[in-house]
Amino acid sequence: MSLELSELSFDRAAFLLNFQGMEDLAEEAISSFLGTLPKSMSLLQAAIEAGNASELELRAHSLRGSLSNYHAKQCCLIAWRLEQIGSSGSTSDAKMFFTTLSQEIDRLANDLRQLSENLKNQVM
């Protein structure tokens, strides 16, 4: 495996396999997801800052569901950890995980943007 592939923040092959024959929809899925990410992250952050554990659990769960569509394992793992923290009824330690998640999400967003460009070129 090349260094570039091993550094990818998501499983590109698994994602594309699911959209086989629907490449235009794959491109749309990425664009829509990138569009919804800022809101998802700000809702998550707001729940942490408000110390609202149940809201944190719910928002982290919802984000994890979306992230799983891209087979973004690292992001899913951190979102799951945040979900667990919320589920335990507290928000302590959540800030640290949120920071890590933000960094991973940035990486994922960049990788997805690249794939989106590739898909656009293929569709055209």
């Binding site: 024959g21 629907m22 569901g65 799951w80």
Partner: protein
């Protein structure tokens, strides 16, 4: 008629992509609901063939909505497939106990989702056909029974009509009894048919049987 699938998920992005993928994979029409209350509203106003619902949604759990759905629709009338994250094993068990027909896990594999949807639509269709066939068997049995019950007094009445003592009171009484028995049976048949509309048209595309509504 085109089958309609109702997608219930608070996440607009997940809902929209899944809807488009299902349309692309199996050509089914999809309708979207962003929460449980909207889902119940749509079910009251539109004929829906299958529900695909996320278990965890803000404000309410899919399992609660599922229970409300099952108060009105059986698993045959409206199949419900729950969508869940792999770690929600206890939720899955709870939903299956509450009447979910099946579940799929996130990330949703579109081919698997399409296959499960088509399978459950087919199972529901077969169950409905089977129920109609049972209803038909009951009607056939009913017709046979009443045919026998009418035939007996009718034979008696016809036999009496040919007798030389037709004008005797005892013969007239026999004819009268027989005709009253027939009248009584026809009343019972009317009472049954008023409860049940029977439509004589092709039942299914392959079998030429009586369709019972």
């Amino acid at each position: 008629m085109e089958k309609k699938i109702l997608l219930v998920d608070d996440n607009e992005f997940d809902r929209s992509i899944l809807g488009k993928a299902i349309q692309g994979k199996c050509g089914l029409k999809t309708i979207e609901a962003e929460n449980g209350s909207r889902c119940l509203e749509i079910l009251q106003t539109e004929p829906i063939d299958l529900v695909l619902m996320d278990i965890v949604m803000p404000g309410t759990f899919g399992s609660d909505i599922l229970q409300k759905i099952r108060e009105k629709f059986s698993a045959i009338e409206l199949p419900v497939i729950m969508v869940t994250s792999k770690t929600d094993a206890s939720d899955v068990v709870g939903c299956l106990k509450s009447g979910a027909n099946d579940y799929i896990t996130k990330p949703v594999n579109f081919d698997v989702a399409a296959s499960r949807i088509i399978t459950h639509l087919r199972v529901a269709e077969l169950a409905r056909e089977s129920a109609k066939l049972k209803e038909m068997s009951a009607i056939t049995a009913m017709v046979t029974t009443y045919n026998h019950e009418i035939n007996n007094p009718l034979s008696i009445a016809i036999a009496c009509m040919g007798r030389p003592d037709l004008n005797e009171n005892s013969t007239k009484e026999k004819i009268k009894d027989a005709l009253w028995r027939i009248a009584d049976i026809t009343k019972r048949i009317r009472a049954i048919t008023e409860k049940m509309e029977v439509e004589y048209e092709g039942y299914g595309s392959l079998s030429k049987m009586v369709k019972v509504k």
